[in-house]
């Protein structure tokens, strides 16, 4: 949806690219901002909550205004970080948060909260709030140059990466925006990348979906373990082709503007260990989690026990970010635990032959997908079947 709708190309990408390249430099950021706002309103209205979903465009206006107050070491930056977290929590986690509290309250005999039903989820809220936090935090730490209102506006409203990333960094985007020119070779590469991304989605991801979707049907109960394992592998293939295809379209769209936005994938299933996997899978998110969760928690600077805890916390947050449900938290903790094991393993100088290491990493990652694509009950059943326990 969106990137595979004709309206994305006809109403937004092509006209904005033409206007962008035919305008003087000082207007270019405003063209991105205008089209980004229209994109948010149009698809917000169409797919993300109707009128109220479209109205969420004022979150960007508010962020642009408050960002003017950000200075190195300023409390306004901390306010900016808190407000982005509040936006994310209010729209994405309130229902899950009250449900989780009530589950806990039932166990401990505490008073329950009234269930809160989510009204809308603004388009791209998981991604744009992370860009808000990045800018506020980096400004607080003095890691940003002076960013004009127009440049910041273009940064957060750059619509090819607004819906699902790649999550950009202002230090990377700002100079590229200033130097953006039409480059026919890059534009041609962009068209190839967009078409290849669409093909990955429609030809490959959607074909693997035919099998992986069986995991969430009654077919799971009757299926033998080997078949469940094949469906889980199909999910692993589907999610790779789906999200890397999506990222290709976003990055290719950026090329048409003459802008190179961050890469998100680098052949992740060829990784020889889980640390390497996270350097090659959803790169823009894993580097964000590293810089704004793992490192501020202390990273690997305070002993192996604290490092293990930080890894588990960072990947727990990453899991929860992927979805407001317990199964995503388990998925995140699974990867955190794998990273802890790998650190312990490699610190003792233990190594597997390359092919065995790649195979082991592939199996571990795909076992994790079990919790990503099903609720905990079904995932436990699926794992039980795969390992012959049920």
């Amino acid at each position: 949806m969106i990137f595979n709708e004709l309206s994305y190309f006809v109403l937004f990408l092509l006209p904005s690219v033409v206007l962008f390249h035919s305008s003087p430099a000082r207007f270019k950021p405003w063209i991105i901002s205008a089209f980004g706002s229209a994109f948010f309103v149009y698809y917000g209205y169409l797919h993300f909550g109707g009128f109220w979903g479209a109205l969420c465009v004022f979150l960007f206006a508010w962020e642009i205004l408050t960002s003017r107050l950000y200075k190195k070491g300023s409390r306004f930056c901390l306010f900016g970080i808190v407000q982005a977290i509040v936006i994310l929590f209010a729209f994405k986690y309130l229902t899950f948060g009250t449900g989780a509290w009530n589950d806990l309250a039932t166990t401990l005999g505490l008073p329950q909260l009234s269930p809160i039903h989510r009204l809308i989820l603004p388009l791209g809220v998981s991604f744009f709030t992370f860009e808000f936090i990045h800018f506020a935090a980096d400004t607080y730490w003095g890691k940003t140059e002076r960013v004009s209102l127009a440049e910041y506006s273009a940064f957060i409203l750059f619509f090819p990466s607004m819906v699902a990333g790649p999550i950009k960094r202002i230090q990377d985007f700002q100079p590229k925006l200033r130097e953006a020119r039409f480059d026919s070779a890059l534009a041609s590469q962009g068209v190839t990348r967009i078409l290849a991304g669409l093909a990955k989605k429609h030809v490959l991801a959607d074909t693997f979906t035919l099998w992986s979707d069986r995991l969430n049907t009654d077919a799971l109960y009757a299926a033998p373990g080997w078949q469940v394992a094949l469906w889980v592998l199909a999910y692993g293939a589907k999610i790779y082709f789906d999200f890397s295809g999506y990222s290709d379209i976003a990055i290719g769209s950026g090329y048409l503007f003459g802008l190179r936005i961050p890469e998100n994938f680098a052949w992740p299933y060829g990784s020889a260990n889980i640390t390497e996997f996270w350097r090659r899978w959803h790169i823009s998110l894993s580097s964000w989690i590293r810089d704004y969760v793992y490192v501020p928690l202390g990273g690997s600077r305070a002993g192996s026990g604290r490092t293990a805890l930080n890894l588990l916390l960072a990947f727990g947050v990453s899991g929860l970010w992927h979805g407001a449900a317990y199964n995503f938290v388990v998925w995140g903790l699974w990867h955190g635990a794998l990273l802890v094991i790998h650190r312990a393993w490699s610190s003792r100088g233990m190594q597997l032959p390359k092919l065995a290491a790649v195979a082991l990493t592939f199996v571990a990652v795909n076992l994790g997908w079990t919790f990503f694509c099903m609720d905990i009950g079904r995932a436990t059943l699926a794992l039980g079947k795969m390992f012959g326990f049920s």
């Binding site: 949806m1 595979n4 388009l123 070779a185 190839t192 429609h202 991801a205 979906t209 999200f243």
Partner: protein, 54 residues
């Protein structure tokens, strides 16, 4: 292996493809047409991207 990866990355637009010259330009155009045909042929089964919040 490296050359296969390079070829796939060029075909996927992750690496620049030298399309100067008439023959290469025609080849690139045919590749675009092949991709577009595949997309149109296979489209319409599932539309949602996994990572888009709904």
């Amino acid at each position: 292996m490296t050359s296969l990866v390079t070829l796939l990355e060029k075909l996927g637009g992750a690496q620049p493809m030298n399309a100067r010259g008439r023959v290469r330009s025609v080849a690139l155009g045919l590749w675009w047409l092949a991709l577009l045909t595949m997309v149109l042929f296979f489209s319409g089964r599932y539309s949602k991207f996994v990572y888009v919040d709904f």
